[in-house]
């Protein structure tokens, strides 16, 4: 038996160390959130606490309508996720399977938009929202989030669709599918790996978005969860416990969505379609 570790072992070891380093801030957040009230500060660089308590979460729920903000976030995020999935997959299907005048340039134009940093878009989007009367409405966030998410999703879907054997679609055509039917009944059911990537990414970016939400929403009752620490900074968020408890709450849905979707990320769904 050779004692030198296999490349695979080395890779796993390196990734484990990196993941550990990555986790430090998350663990600090959890440590502070779970710290019993009255304890001044966590030891060991913020990682060691004496005892565990949910009191900070209690404070957060007591002082702020967390659930209301959570529902706001969910309405905005889920709607934009659904819109991105539908719009991008339809567009990507056209890009992958049809040749139309200007199709190539349109696609590269789409790619170029990925290079724009979001802060550069804040002012134009604010102006647009103002013009269309979307300020301080859910749509004022849903539409920009969707628009910003579409290019990335189109790229993911297009490369995935291109790998689906054309003969599957031809078989469906002969079986009686329209083009829309093929998209609905063949392409989309086969594209769960792509859809899961798009859903996770879009959910994460929309749910965590802060700046656009800050400038768009005026009424507290419409604000998403990410704005909670800011709204209540005065009343109670000055204390680290409830503040970090709220931040913990903000991260939970993203983690849940990731765990739900990741089982679809496995490739090879088209295995067995063609030949043997």
């Amino acid at each position: 038996m050779p004692l030198t570790p296999s490349p695979r072992t080395i890779k796993t070891a390196v990734l484990t160390v990196l993941a550990g380093i990555w986790l430090v801030p998350v663990l600090m957040m959890l440590a502070v959130a779970l710290m019993p009230p009255g304890q001044r500060a966590a030891g060991f660089g913020g990682l060691a606490i004496k005892g565990v308590s949910l009191a900070s979460f209690g404070t957060a729920f007591d002082r702020a309508p967390i659930l209301l903000h959570f529902v706001n976030s969910l309405i905005i995020t889920v709607t934009s996720v659904v819109l991105v999935v539908v719009i991008s997959s339809l567009a990507a299907y056209a890009f992958a399977r049809t040749r139309f005048r200007g199709g190539e340039s349109l696609f590269y134009g789409l790619l170029a938009t990925l290079m724009l940093p979001i802060p550069a878009l804040i002012v134009p989007i604010f102006q647009l929202n103002k013009t269309f009367g979307l300020l301080d409405t859910y749509w004022g966030l849903i539409l920009p989030y969707t628009a910003l998410g579409v290019p990335f999703a189109v790229i993911i879907y297009r490369s995935f669709f291109s790998a689906i054997p054309q003969e599957l679609e031809e078989a469906a055509k002969i079986d009686g599918c329209s083009t829309f039917g093929i998209w609905l009944r063949i392409i989309m059911p086969l594209s769960w790996p792509a859809t899961s990537v798009v859903v996770i990414f879009q959910f994460m970016t929309s749910f965590n978005e802060f700046i656009l939400a800050l400038v768009t929403m005026d009424s507290n009752s419409l604000k998403p969860l990410t704005l909670v620490p800011l709204i209540y900074a005065g009343p109670f968020m000055a204390q680290p416990g409830p503040m970090f408890a709220t931040l913990t709450l903000i991260t939970i849905p993203v983690v849940v969505v990731y765990l739900l979707m990741q089982r679809f990320m496995i490739g090879g769904l088209t295995a067995g379609a063609v030949k043997g």
Partner: protein, 361 residues
């Protein structure tokens, strides 16, 4: 069931003319095989009939309907692809029933028809499985089931057996023949395997460079090929070809080969002028070890180069006039590599072709 008619059908891809003025009439219930070398346009022809490829010119008529510009789903045809193209996310039952479901057939009726097809194709045990959990042969049968279940007017097959191993291929060939006898649906079957075409088809269409070279029953193509191309394509092992020049009297058609050896074909081929170059074609099965019954001018002499025993018979490669001929001889033939042997020619079944045009004389 329906007739299928191609009327001066053309297809161009960019500047490349893949199909050139194809005319073909297929009778109701007929089984027609399209054969030809790779790239001759078999698949393109089939896909135009299916509606997967638009015609560039001409018309396609199924039954009484001109379907040239109808989408595939309105042509009432079914197709079995070389790759099978099964839907990976559906079970076998869903794969077979998909077309029925899309056409609004009641669920109970779909189940009934799927069951019936599964019964015929011995797929009952695997109805609940996904395609990736099937063997190659089972996938092939699912693809057939998907085509059968709708009882279409026309079946289209594009090399449906080429992904199976040799044994399974022979088995499925027999199954397809049996199915066609039961269902009597008009069938167009693309293959590059001439044995498949010979055994399955009522009529064979030999294609070359986007044109039809000859249409006929397997018997006609084997016995009376119109060109060297068809003669070489039909029959296995391939027909032997030898270049020669006609000599002497017009009644006997004496041929002289490159090395000066001669063969007299007799009165069957009479009428060619002396000095005319020809290509002689003889099938391996029309050569035999010369015996007392063979006249001296009806023999070819050559050196044995290779011996291939096949069990039922033996193939002997013999060098005659600088070319290697293949002869199909009896199983226990007493020859050795290096022997000089005399081959008797079944002269009535020899073919002559024009060397330039390749057409039969």
């Amino acid at each position: 069931m329906a007739t299928v008619e191609l009327r001066r059908v053309n297809k161009t891809f960019g500047t490349h003319q893949a199909i050139q003025g194809l005319d073909l009439s297929i009778a109701n219930g007929e089984f027609v095989a399209l054969v030809g070398p790779s790239g001759c346009g078999k698949s393109t022809t089939l896909r135009m009939i299916a509606g997967l490829e638009a015609v560039s010119g001409g018309a396609i008529v199924i039954g009484e309907r001109d379907v040239s510009h109808l989408p595939a789903r309105d042509r009432d045809i079914a197709m079995v692809f070389q790759s099978y193209a099964l839907y990976p996310h559906m079970t076998v039952a869903e794969n077979i029933g998909f077309g029925l479901k899309l056409r609004g057939t009641r669920r109970a009726r779909v189940a009934e028809l799927v069951d019936e097809a599964a019964e015929t194709l011995q797929l009952k045990e695997v109805l609940g499985r996904k395609p990736k959990e099937l063997s190659g042969g089972q996938r092939q049968r699912v693809a057939m089931g998907r085509a059968m279940v709708r009882h279409p007017q026309v079946f289209l097959f594009d090399e449906p057996l080429s992904n199976l191993d040799a044994k399974l291929r022979v088995h499925m060939r027999a199954q397809i023949k049996k199915l066609h006898r039961q269902l009597t649906t008009t069938t167009i079957y693309v293959t590059h395997d001439q044995t498949e075409a010979m055994t399955l088809a009522d009529r064979i269409v030999v294609m070359n460079h986007g044109r039809i070279e000859q249409v006929g029953t397997p018997h006609e193509l084997y016995g009376a090929p119109v060109s060297k191309f068809v003669a070489g394509f039909i029959g296995s092992p391939e027909m032997n070809f030898l270049d020669a020049v006609v000599e002497g009297a017009a009644e006997t058609c004496d041929l002289t080969f490159a090395d000066g050896s001669r063969l007299s074909l007799g009165p069957v081929h009479a009428g060619l002028p002396a000095g005319r170059p020809v290509t002689l074609g003889i099938r391996p099965e029309h050569l035999h070890l010369a015996g007392p019954a063979d006249p001296p001018d009806g023999r070819l002499s050559g050196l044995v180069e290779v011996i291939e025993p096949l069990g039922a018979d033996t193939l002997i490669h013999v060098v005659v006039a600088g070319r290697t001929l293949v002869a199909r001889l009896a199983a226990k033939v007493a020859v050795e590599v290096g022997d000089r042997i005399e081959l008797g020619v079944d002269r009535a079944r020899a073919h002559l072709f024009d060397p330039a045009s390749g057409l039969a004389l």
